[in-house]
């Protein structure tokens, strides 16, 4: 409960900060302090010290897993602000409001990590989404940003409708909004097989479509490239990591107990979605000229891998999604921080970066290796756990081979950036880069390698 309450309060605090001062560094510093307080509050909560108790009438259920995930999300946001805060300050005069919106997003994610029924899921998704629509359009003078915002808003609202419809159908079928209630109220088992009514299946499928939209899984991914490309880079970084991870967590939690209702059809549908997502993300990413768009498609591709946790629905998958979140957030936030320092977002804009900015190029390389899933980086174990969970769940070998082949394709576009930085000549224009920023980046790189060599550091926290 701490995370929900504190994030909401901090959001309001940030709004007041905007009234009290217009010095941007002060605002950023306030946001950092607020995030640290939020992080500490959540950590204390997970150890049972100073935890605010509210009777949530079974609408929310707090467990260690959820709290740990909150910790990851808040820590990820902290990392994001530390590395990209200065970029955020450059976007007009509403810095404090942007931070306030980020805190409201965190409030939404905190609800998503603890929802215990459809209503809370819906609330969480909406609390998370509405600030994002605004953040996407925050670069008011940029037409692309406006377009992206409108597109995102319209598509998001439409999805909201689908989600509500799904919830309604489930309620109609079972008379319950609860996560457990929906499962338990299935038709009485006939011949030992628990089966679902038509309404239930339809409801679940609608929910599945809505959640697929939120995590940009194919075939509901079409908004992603435009929105990611149009939004200011600093928010793309936030949306494609923190928000996406939270969406996945909710997705998995929602379907973990319900998959048995759909029977074998479920795994067929999901395999189709996974393969389609991997295909759409990876193949299209290969043809991009802008690195930012490439990252948008790669984020779709990564979603394909993350869906394996949903497919396998076992402890290895849960551990995997935690590790994936850590690996993916570290690498993507790190890489976006670098991307924003380079003036030209095309591949050619990165030509020769290694000779002009060796630290940036080095950290970017580590981030890209991690995204590609090369051993000794966090991304390897993230992908490893995903594949392992499918094998453990008895998934078909072809699915694993397809995933692996797409991972090889992904190496193509990630390495194109490395090639540009190291092997091509050029004088890329970069913004001024401070010592602190470089140290921050090097710490990110160190963290990626550390998790890549000893993933148990993260996983042991999970079982604290």
């Amino acid at each position: 409960m701490n995370a929900i309450i504190f994030s909401a309060i901090m959001g309001v605090v940030m709004m007041f900060t905007g009234i009290l001062t217009n010095k941007k560094p002060v605002i950023t510093l306030t946001a950092i302090v607020a995030l640290v307080i939020l992080l500490v509050a959540n950590l204390l909560n997970s150890y049972g010290i100073f935890s605010i108790q509210v009777d949530t009438k079974e609408l929310l259920h707090f467990n260690k897993m959820g709290m740990f995930f909150n910790t990851l999300i808040i820590a990820g946001t902290l990392l994001f602000v530390l590395l990209s805060g200065s970029e955020l300050e450059k976007l007009g005069n509403k810095t404090a409001d942007f931070y306030a919106l980020i805190f409201f997003v965190l409030c939404g994610t905190a609800i998503l990590t603890s929802f215990n029924g459809m209503l809370m899921l819906f609330l969480g998704i909406e609390i998370l989404s509405i600030p994002l629509y605004i953040l996407t359009g925050s670069d008011k003078k940029n037409l692309k940003s406006n377009e992206a915002s409108l597109k995102y808003f319209l598509m998001g609202s439409f999805t909201t409708g689908i989600m509500l419809m799904g919830i309604v159908l489930l309620y109609g079928a079972t008379g319950s909004f609860g996560l457990v209630g929906v499962t338990n109220s299935a038709l009485p088992p006939s011949a030992g097989v628990q089966s679902a009514s038509f309404l239930q299946v339809a409801g679940l499928l609608l929910l599945f479509a809505a959640m697929s939209f939120k995590v940009s899984a194919a075939p509901f991914h079409f908004w992603t490239p435009d929105v990611y490309d149009g939004a200011p880079s600093v928010f793309t970084s936030f949306m494609s990591t923190i928000v996406k991870a939270a969406g996945f967590f909710a997705f998995i939690k929602l379907f973990a107990s319900n998959t048995s209702l759909l029977g074998p059809t479920w795994s067929i549908i999901l395999s189709f979605v996974i393969v389609a997502t991997l295909f759409a993300g990876n193949i299209t990413a290969v043809f991009q000229r802008s690195i930012k768009r490439m990252l948008a498609y790669s984020s779709i591709a990564q979603a394909g891998f993350m869906l394996f946790a949903l497919y396998s629905n076992n402890d290895l998958g849960t551990e995997g999604i935690i590790l994936y979140t850590v690996a993916y957030c570290l690498a993507t936030i790190g890489f976006f921080a670098i991307l924003m320092k380079v003036k030209d977002y095309t591949f050619d804009g990165f030509n020769g970066l290694a000779s002009t900015q060796p630290v940036l190029a080095f950290v970017a390389t580590i981030c890209l290796l991690s995204l590609a899933g090369i051993p000794l980086t966090a991304g390897f174990f993230a992908k490893y756990f995903m594949l392992a969970s499918v094998v453990k769940a008895g998934g078909p070998i072809w699915l694993v081979i397809v995933a692996v082949l797409f991972a090889a394709i992904s190496a193509y576009y990630y390495f194109k950036v490395i090639q540009a930085m190291y092997f091509k000549e050029g004088q890329p224009e970069t913004a001024e880069i401070g010592q602190g920023f470089k140290i921050g980046l090097l710490l990110v790189a160190a963290a990626i390698v550390l998790v890549g060599v000893l993933p148990s550091i993260v996983l042991n926290c999970f079982y604290f």
Partner: protein, 475 residues
Amino acid sequence: MITLLLILTPLVTGLIAFFLKQGNAAKNFALLASVATAALSLSAVFAQGTLTYDASWLTSIGSRITLKADGMAKMLTLLTAVSFPIIFTAIYNNTYKQAASFYGLMLLSQAGLMGVFLASDALLFYFFWELALIPVYFLCSIWGGEKRIAVTFKFFVYTFVGSLLMLIGLLFMYFSTADQSFSWQSFQAVQLSAKQETVLFWLFFVAFAIKMPIFPFHTWQPDAYEQSPTATTMVMSGIMVKMGVFAVIRWLLPMFPVAAAQSANLIIVLSVIGMIYASLIAIRQDDIKRMIAYSSIAHIGLMSAAMFTNNATAMEGVMIQMFSHGVNVIGLWIIADLIEKQLGTTNMKELGGLAQKAPVMAILLVVMALANVALPLTNAFIGEFLMFNGLFQYNMVMAAVAGISIILAAVYTLNMVQRVIYGNVNATTEKASEIPFNIQVALVIITLMILVFGVYPQPLLDLTGDSVSAIFVNK
């Protein structure tokens, strides 16, 4: 402990090398580091019995840092440890842009190679397998020839796909083990159905076949060898291809004996086709580097055929040949590099008459060339003899066809010697001069190894004897 140090020394010194000043500092440091590793490796070779090291790593998923140095591993770590000082000595006069990074990456690739040969835990093995690949990717792409980027990328994608297929195999094996562990012992103990075994066998085999490389997985190799900086080519052709051979012997054959026996015919046929095919192409090459690359494919083809004959004699041959081929091919590359540095070309059409200009080099090149042909009294002879012997016992026809490659090897190698050393000096070779001292040192060490092991291969046979008998006792 020595086993751990064999990996840590190049790893740590490699990381340190990145932070050294450019120029001579990095060069000298790397040379010293590699000599230290070589000394460690020699002490490992002279230590009795199998050396082991064990420490916990990822307890939750059953992977440990388990290192094991039996005879075969000792021999290959010795090859790795000895090759690097030789390579560093040979390239001592070269100046590289960003020398610190160059030597750092070289040492890191050495650490990866050491790890591959020592790991007795499958996940650890996979880690080192990739660790050896990544530095080489950067080495080739930054310091290579004109077409380096595209060529190295092809090499990277090939090996990466292979590695990923192996990863799937590892996962399936892991979940089939009784104790959910990645240890070598647990992997050997897995009981699989015939169908499973066949599928898994091929998943692993493709990864190893790409690395060796054997026909038809070889297409990345000639370009990569040609475009890479020569020091890296030496590592790739001298040591890295042995990773594939080693992996087949250490992991593949004991894990899937039934599938291996079933697929043996097909693989041997492919290997023999590869030998003849590569030899014929080698004859047609005008470029020394490409000729050596194709000749290497032919030699590896013989090793891969011999491995699958299920014959102890052939296996002994493979062991010796892994070492001999590594040393010899490095010698050939050193000379090719020297010619290119001095004359700006490795095209045989433009060369000739070097014996008059550089007699010492001519003599050394002839020694390397004869070793490449596997003439008796050179180290390659005994290896090839044992392998052909085993292949003959397996299938006479295939041995006979494969035997043609010996003749073809003589054709292209001696042709190269004739076109490069003999004949008249021309405008290009006019500027040739005698080889520098450092390269002489490197080549003389190699020549000594060629001759010593050619006359008296027993130490190598003794060293690897336990590994060979272990393979055949278990059957």
